[in-house]
Amino acid sequence: MGSQGGFGQSKEFLDLVKSIGEARSKAEEDRIVLSEIDILKRKLLEPDVPKRKMKEYIIRLVYIEMLGPDASFGYIHAVKMTHDDNLLLKRTGYLAVTLFLNEDHDLIILIVNTIQKDLRSDNYLVVCAALNAICRLINEETIPAVLPQVVELLNHQKEAVRKKAIMALHRFHRKSPSSVSHLISNFRKRLCDNDPGVMGATLCPLFDLISEDVTSYKDLVSSFVSILKQVTERRLPKSYDYHQMPAPFIQIKLLKIMALLGSGDKNASEIMSMVLGDLFRKCDSSTNIGNAILYECIRCISCILPNPKLLEAAADAISKFLKSDSHNLKYMGIDGLGRLIKISPDIAEQHQLAVIDCLEDPDDTLKRKTFELLYKMTKSSNVEVIVDRMIDYMISINDNHYKTEIASRCVELAEQFAPSNQWFIQTMNKVFEHAGDLVNIKVAHNLMRLIAEGFGEDDDDADSKLRLSAVESYLQLISEPKLPSLFLQVISWVLGEYGTADGKYSASYISGKLCDVADAYSSDETVKGYAVSALMKIYAFEIASGRKVDVLPECQSLIEELLASHSTDLQQRAYELQALLALDSRAVETIIPLDASCEDIEVDKELSFLNGYIQQAIESGAQPYISERERSGMFETTDYHPQDHHEVPSHTLRFEAYELPKPSVPPQASTELVPVPEPSYYSESHQPISTSLVSERESSEIKLRLDGVKQKWGRPSYQPTTSASSTTQQAANGTTSHSDGGVGSSSSKPRSSYEPKKPEIDPEKQRLAASLFGGSSSSRTDKKSSGGQKPAKGTVNKPATVPKENPTPVQPPPDLLDLGEPMATTVSTMDPFKELEGLMDSSSQDGGSNDVMGLYSDAAPVTTTTSVDSLLSELSDSSKGNSRTYQSQTSKGPNTKEALEKDALVRQMGVNPTSQNPTLFKDLLG
């Protein structure tokens, strides 16, 4: 055993490792590391540090960085060590340097020379060490310094060198494809290397190359297929076998490449079908590695154009995965299902109950994977159930990254498949309420547009119902604490535009609510801006309809507060509102017509209506228009430059609400929900009202601004553009997309209807299954009756799964490793290592042991060897060449003995397995 021979380290090093190993807390570890930094800083400066000692110091530096602090004070010593003639020291130096430095670090320049020298070395291990370093440290600029030598090494007599040289070339290709574009043929050549290791490594760069440009490598299809065939026929050296499987990692890489090459290529797919069929037949699905290959076959088949037999084989494999007890295999099965469903849409039906089990599993990973599958199989008939589920889940999680993702998926599905606008609005409300800070602002704009435009048909009654329902839902939600800003913007806008439209709510009621919002979110200027604008609309509508306006006291005080606001935007809005209140009804009606947010506005860009006025002015002696530049100083609005748009998100002028008629966003654009600020959106809204002063024939920014303004004060006609029609289509989605595929999503493939089977299954689950997987025929009836799906929700927490959710994590069953094994190991809840230790030296377990091992304190203190055996079995079987990796119960006497020996040896070294961290001595493999 080489390891014991390697204990040739100094006492000091052993002590350091020991103390780190025994540290019980992060704080203690930090203390050790900090004092180690002081020690090393001193020691590294000592003159004539012996080389072996220096190697130890370098490794101690590695420890320091691994555990937290920066060890840059010692980098230079690692660099120096790469110059050493001794191979071990050199390699340690290179290792440390690759761990410490990134490719752009200044010290790299000191290493390039050494690398060049080492590449010429007679000792192939030195060459290998240099090539390793090249793969980590060489950046675009330094490639030319080593490239010729690396190319030369591609033909080195040692296979290890050829392998690393090809990987160095791979790295160059990644860093700078042009630097090696003339050397691409070398990858093809090395594929035929007679060493399987070199061939296997070459698959990595080839995979990259083929993903970039499939067509140039079509000629290699038969080569890859024949390599795979040879591998499966065990033509490779035995040493590549893993758990009786011939070179599985090479097989998997080949399958990945074949998936690329066979995609959409009938011919290539046919060439592959034979070997894929063989793999399905041959693969041992009782081992993990066998299943890994099966899974890769499924992936490959889902990419190529498979024949029906292969599809069937893939479906069978998936079905085995799903039926397995192992969560890992279920996960793979769900993933496979999601891939295959694209080409074989009915495949999910037979697995619906398994899918629902996974959906309700307490394991988050599995649940998410299942949501991914549901997302892929959503269509108009099941969108309500699926999105409801997704939203429930979204509400339950805290992980913002995933919350954003799932929120964006909800929005995407809702926009694509919404059965009714009502449902769409409700769904959006939920998304906004719970993830409003995470969704893209475009989603809010889409929602406002939808409410403004209604069904897109000439059904005003339905439109006003829709708006009323939106208003009602918002009035209900508005008093909830802490609503996301974006949602409040939508609410304010809708209330302003439609709050009083129906006559159901009085202006003072709505304006009171709006004041509450402005008051409750007083730090959010955007929301306040929206609220003030909404107030302005409410009052304008009142004035226009000839009613007397009573400005609420709280509203009055809000206006007064904003008149003095430090935000010029809010100030301006407040002034406008104040001015508007003084106008007569005719003027107000012209400024803010009722429900005109959708009206198109024609802007007279030439301002011809002013011609008479100008003429008059000039005649009476005024200066004529001179130039843009001269004018720019006079109007605050003229110095708009693109950069204005960049700073916008921090303090925007909030007029977006009026911009809805800008319908140029294609429906799917709103699906990218990444919460990136959208300068373009803001830019249009970023104007003060005084644009009537601006002459706008010049820059596009100014034009943009005017567009925004136009839309604000809705006035006549603009030409229906293509984008306008796309909006209509989108808005009409709910009503027109009954037939699957109408909206052109890949996942909306038609699916035949299915009948619920297996009556012994929980009826609720079945109902859920039916609503998820049900065919399109039943979908129409389902559509409006969301009530039918409600009960299904109750199944989320079916009692059977509850106990699994909170098992005490402190009691790991002895065998944690074996996913393939159906948990036969649960027989023992005690930690077998604990027992093993007891076996080795119970005396060393002093009283303190309970601190760490207290976790296991409820394990019976029986010393048995059987539970140890079950742990050991995995390795022993594989190393002995037995066919089953996961058989349990082999005698492992010698291992226990070795463990004892090691324990004794370590003790001799002065490292005692003290109580703090006895697990240090546990055999990883048992």
């Binding site: 055993m1 080489g2 390891s3 380290q9 490792v17 540290a23 570890e29 420890y63 960085e65 691994m66 555990l67 937290g68 390699r91 290792l95 291990l125 390793n132 793969c135 290890a160 392998k163 990987m167 791979h170 990644r174 290791g197 296997g200 490594a201 990595c204 040493s239 590549y240 893993y242 758990h243 070179a247 599985p248 993990n288 890994a292 290959i293 890992n328 793979m332 394991d363 988050d364 990973t365 599995l366 990254h401 995933y402 098992p807 994590p809 790991p812 944690l816 490793l817 996913l819 948990m823 190393s879 291992n895 090691k902 370590v906 697990t919 240090l920 001595f921 055999d923 990883l924 493999l925």
Partner: protein, 143 residues
């Protein structure tokens, strides 16, 4: 690019080995390790050996007190990575004999050397234990 990092972390959350195949600053590494370890330690044995974290998928496997965690791209074959971990442990076991956490701590550089042979540029390049260990054995002999 396949594998983005390989971590060995013990049950107490202490890092025992860390190898990154894309550059992260020390602060980013600390943060990432902390988050991942918290996530993985909170899981039980019935659950999948896979966890999604930010843009990574973490495939992890526990051996005695030590967690092996491999961060991979989204389109990596998780089961294969799981077996890759086992291959790594078997390789270490072949070299050290009944490998334990302490072996890795005392021979940190050797554990790294093995990884250097097995993974380059984030790709699995060598899976023959004999090939992986040969250079280390040659170095051992020379000393």
């Amino acid at each position: 690019m396949g594998i983005r990092f390989i971590l060995m972390v013990n049950k107490q959350g202490q890092t025992r080995l860390a190898q990154y195949y894309e550059w992260l600053t020390l602060e980013e590494r600390r943060a990432l390790e902390g988050e991942i370890v918290r996530k993985c330690l909170a899981r039980n044995d019935q659950q999948c050996s896979f966890v999604e974290h930010r843009n990574y998928k973490i495939v992890y496997r526990r051996y005695a007190s030590l967690f092996f965690m491999v961060g991979v791209d989204d389109d990596e074959n998780e089961l294969a990575i799981l077996e890759f971990i086992h291959l790594l442990v078997e390789t270490m076991d072949k070299h050290f004999g009944n490998v334990c956490e302490l072996d890795i701590m005392f021979h940190l550089e050797k554990a790294h050397f093995m990884l250097e042979e097995m993974v380059m540029n984030g790709c699995i390049v060598e899976t023959s234990k004999a090939n992986i260990l040969s250079s280390i054995q040659l170095m051992d002999k020379a000393h």
